[in-house]
Amino acid sequence: MTTRIESAFAFSPRRVAAMMLRYWYLLRSSWPRLVELVYWPMVQMITWGFLQFYVVQNAGFFARAAGTLIGAVLLWDILFRGQLGFSISFLEEMWSRNIGNLMMSPLRPFEFIIALMVMSMVRLLIGVIPVTLLAFLFFGFNLYGLGLALVAFFINLMLTSWAVGIFVSGLVLRNGLGAENFAWSIMFLFMPLTCVYYPVTTLPVWLQPLAWLLPPTYVFEGMRALLIEHTFHPNLMIDALGLNVLFFAGGSFGFLKLLQSARRHGSLMQTGE
């Protein structure tokens, strides 16, 4: 038996691996959890795919912009499911009343966050990869045809989803499961403002600056430019990355402040279903 004295900033890959293993065991033990990962993205893609199929046959513009709706749906799912995957893994600790065990263990908050980020990626890939293949089979839309641009879109969307997930986890930690609804609904606040299905110019002029403050707006604009004009705008991705750094720093700072507040209010011992 060995025990080591460590500082607050010591990083342990083994502790991160322990948390990932914990979530992997959980996923493996529950087939409804696995099915749920694929179910909603698939339903969404099929619904919007048929809608696109219909408008392509009836509108000249959309005939030129083939794939924008399905592309938007799939990219939106990366953003939404990325955040949800992060938040659900965190909520599992609250539902099972395990958060006190974790907070009392040597696990550092940033190690916990890294494990949640990796698991959100794993959950996302389990859910989205089969759906992208179905999109190709059903509607001939090849998401992977976006090439390197897809990598830039993916990185930016994941960073936003994690930043929001981290902040929401802090809210739940501080306020208990009464704040759980934020985890399910907060991303929908982004939906109209990030212009998932329409260009930013559709918004009223006074609302457009607010839209440009959100990193996903740049991704959805970039996706439309790529599919409609066949042009990739790297500057959009760089701007999104800059904003994402601010979002991520803000989310992490918020989480740490809410954790401090939870310690002050004694919430860490009183969380549960």
Partner: protein
Amino acid sequence: MPASPAIDVERLVKIYKNVRAVDAVSFSIARGSITGLLGGNGAGKTTTIAMIMGLTTPTSGRVTVLGAEMPRQRYRVLQRMNFESPYVEMPMRLTVRQNLTVFGMLYGVADLADRIAELVGALDLTDLLDRPTGKLSAGQKTRVSLAKSLINAPDLLLLDEPTASLDPDTADWVRGHLDRYRRDRHATVLLASHNMAEVERLCERVIIMKRGRIEDDDTPARLLARYGRRTLEEVFLDVARGGGEAREAAQ
């Protein structure tokens, strides 16, 4: 030079809104000792333990654990501590083996498979290892929680109602195991309970709390003598009903 105490609590206060949950509590706990923290519901036992563990920040006062100030320096000592409490549970869907593996990794336990085998043998968990933790009976879950709390062979073990909701036989078995562990490892144990028989059997020293304050603090034998009672339960009732006046009357 005498060894520093395992736990040193100095004028500890915790106020939640307008409620003083813990009110200027001070005590030291010697290394290798087993101490009972007694008190009724709302006496401040759990809040005191939460502050010792670094889970709750004190409003004022100071807590030092194994030489580290809590919660500021908690990462220096968390690997050498562990706890069990009815306020937390282990993930229900994970099997006993999976839970012990995850917590063993979190605590940086070397030779984890051997340590799990050792605990499983000592706590009679062999037949339960591959069952989901949520499917176990209350007594079995308690044994699993105890295994988790011992996974890192802690120098300091904090136990909050470790035998609550257990049948007398299992509760007795758990107490025996805790006592053996403490003696074998020279570990320090702080036990919060309102089970007087448990405290009387296990503890060398008893701290009685009431309404966030320490009402009395002594060995069980001296408490019995001072209050002129035969059991700690009677002492506890005296304190609960009369507080300091009961002790003065007894003296």
